[in-house]
């Protein structure tokens, strides 16, 4: 008897705590309205995929076949309006890296098909045709391309050194995703605030500064921050076809190199070899030996950075705050600590979670550091190898296929059909 009675009381208690005031019996026959629950708008997702593939295909045609800067730029403007202002800069391929990484590290994380396509399609196009995605499809690239009015040259050495920054950013973003600290790339996207017409004050200032800088240093985000650009750079190095500066034969006038604001055109190697083969080989050997040292050094530094890196995670910050409050280091509560105290979670559980997270960041930091070390080592090797080059060629990794050099090249496609007379090729002149 007693247990049954007890059960009833507790059941009653639940009901009472859920509903202090039961719904009245209406004498007037009142019927309550239903809750309005509009469905998510998924209609656009299909169109996004269509627009992405179409824009990529058009970009590849404009860059490789039609070779018109104006057409590429018009497509860029379309992408800025559609993917940027119309779709509010979301979904974007740059951020999709994080979803894919999250799906990789966390088996419970579902990655929608649209996101997978946004991740894969630009990379596949880069493998086939070069970075046509950067040229005319990416809305972040498009907004910078639109403001690049007076681009100046960045010294190539500075450019090379700064090009390590995107790799570090990519590593940090992957670490953040792996440890469950959120999507850094989306959080610090400088231009999405303009697309949505609203963002936090500091982000708008950051984006505004980027755009002002972008007037003189073309595409500052793409070159010195974009983490997806790192992957596109690697893919484009292997590209099957790539934009060529000249439609026919290069006359080595160097006009294209002046026109390129991205330092993405490699000059022909000088006639005389700058050093003997033996010296080059010895240096290459040394650098290859240096590679594991750099990786180990990076891994060590990464695991030393455990504490500051782990503060990326809100749980670690909360645990430190709570511990500080317990020790009387702070006065008052933050919203987070107040919410934590309102829940019944014991402090020890939070501390244990934070310790586990710190360990996770220690392990992740090691990988992160090793990755940075490996990339720096490979970059050093890349700088030290001198390929023999007879013409001005686009650097397949860093070239955005923007098409500026097409216009500046004095050699026109029709020259090939016409006989020598109009061709300023010295070799052919000599024949006459």
């Amino acid at each position: 008897m007693i247990p049954a009675f007890k059960f009833q009381v507790s059941d009653f208690a639940v009901r009472v705590s859920e509903f202090r005031f039961p719904m009245p019996e209406f004498a007037s026959g009142y019927k309550h309205p239903a809750v309005y629950t509009p469905a998510p708008s998924s209609l656009m997702a299909g169109w996004d995929i269509v627009a992405l593939i179409a824009a990529l295909t058009l970009a590849a045609i404009f860059v490789l076949k039609r070779r018109k800067r104006r057409e590429i730029f018009l497509l860029t403007l379309f992408s800025l309006i559609y993917f940027g202002f119309w779709r509010n800069g979301c979904i974007c391929a740059v951020g999709s890296v994080q979803n894919v990484a999250a799906g990789f590290f966390n088996p419970a994380f579902g990655v929608p098909l649209t996101v997978l396509i946004f991740f894969a399609a630009p990379l596949i196009f880069a493998l086939l045709f070069g970075r046509v995605f950067c040229a005319a499809v990416c809305p972040l690239g498009a907004i910078q391309e639109a403001v690049a009015i007076k681009p100046v040259k960045v010294p190539p050495a500075v450019e090379k050194v700064l090009s390590i920054a995107p790799v570090i950013y990519l590593g940090l973003a992957m670490l953040s995703v792996a440890a469950g600290a959120g999507f850094l790339i989306c959080r610090y996207d400088p231009f999405v605030g303009f697309f949505r017409m609203g963002a936090s004050f500091s982000l708008l200032i950051f984006g505004g500064l980027m755009l002002v800088l972008g007037i003189f240093v073309a595409r500052p985000y793409c070159r010195f921050l974009c983490p997806y650009g790192v992957l596109l750079n690697w893919a484009s190095k292997l590209s099957r076809r790539h934009a060529t500066i000249t439609p026919a034969e290069c006359i080595r006038c160097g006009l294209c190199a002046d026109s390129c604001p991205y330092n993405a055109i490699s000059e022909p190697s000088p006639e005389a070899a700058p050093e003997t083969r033996g010296r080059g080989a010895r240096r290459l050997g040394l650098l290859i030996l240096l590679l594991p040292v750099l990786v180990a050094l990076g891994a060590g530094t990464g695991s030393l950075l455990r504490e500051p890196l782990s503060r990326m995670h809100p749980t670690v910050r909360l645990a430190e705050r709570i511990a500080g409050e317990e020790l009387g280091r702070y006065t008052g509560n933050t919203i987070e600590s107040a919410a934590f105290r309102a829940s019944d979670t014991p402090n020890e559980k939070l501390y244990a979670e934070a310790v586990a997270l710190k360990e996770r960041f220690g392990r992740g930091g090691k990988w992160f550091g090793a990755f940075i070390g490996l990339v720096i080592g490979c970059k050093l090797i890349g700088v030290s190898i001198r390929r023999k080059r007879t013409d001005y060629e686009p650097d397949r990794g860093t070239c955005y296929s923007c098409g500026r050099c097409f216009k500046y090249c004095p050699v026109k496609a029709s020259c090939r059909e016409k006989p020598a007379g109009s061709t300023p090729d010295t070799a052919e002149f000599r024949q006459y």
Binding site: F19, F21, H32, C90, G110, R196
Partner: protein
């Protein structure tokens, strides 16, 4: 001539490997069955609904952000941290669990002089709650979602003094479904999570059905 051919061959091999890698990763993630953590609250897996959890379908079905009203502490950040202005989080009202009180903790300020629609008596900063007389002594409260900013003041009032029939939800015709929800990141009580797009709301009226 020979060296360039060798280089091309290696490049082709590398390109093929990278393509296979991308295809592999995408295939693995796209075809993977989701083992999502069951909250046990949505109720779609009950035999009456076909017994199938929408989360067990392939990942391609998509997820959206939603906030769990059980966890929400009404801190007010939903109103300030959404990338949209005004926020995509709105107050929802489950009429089926409302007490239709005359003295409504969600509608009237605690120090209200009278129980009427006078602006000085209303708790809502944007007057987004409409009060309609039904029969003595019952009133119906309706949220004007055009005016609601998702601050949660009424939610706190209703859950403190009433049944808790007012609560915050992400309204999905407004939500742009960011990769990482800006409110989720700022939420102090960890109330935001991804839910399947086929079941995008965590309604309290579902819970009521479960209890009775």
């Amino acid at each position: 001539m020979k060296t360039t051919k060798r280089r091309d061959f290696i490049k082709n091999l590398a390109r093929g490997a990278v393509l296979a890698g991308i295809a592999g990763v995408c295939g693995m993630l796209g075809l993977r069955k989701n083992k999502y953590q069951c909250s046990g609250r949505c109720g779609t897996c009950k035999p009456a609904n076909g017994g199938v959890c929408p989360l067990d379908s392939a990942a391609g079905s998509g997820f959206v952000w939603q906030l769990d009203p059980e966890k929400c502490t009404q801190c007010g950040r939903c109103a300030t941290h959404c990338v949209l202005a005004p926020s995509a989080v709105k107050c929802f009202h489950s009429y089926s669990i409302c007490g239709y009180c005359d003295l409504c903790g969600g509608y009237l300020r605690p120090d209200a002089k009278e129980r009427n629609t006078g602006a000085e008596n209303q708790l809502c900063p944007t007057a987004a709650i409409r009060r309609k007389f039904i029969e003595d002594p019952y009133y119906q409260y309706t949220i004007d979602e055009e005016l609601c900013i998702g601050c949660g003041k009424c939610v706190r009032g209703c859950s403190t003094f009433g049944n808790g029939s007012l609560y915050l939800q992400v309204k999905h015709n407004l939500c742009v479904n960011c990769n990482e929800c800006a409110i989720a990141r700022a939420c102090p009580s960890d109330a935001f999570r991804r839910v399947p797009a086929s079941e995008p709301y965590l309604l309290k009226s579902n819970q009521e059905k479960r209890i009775s």
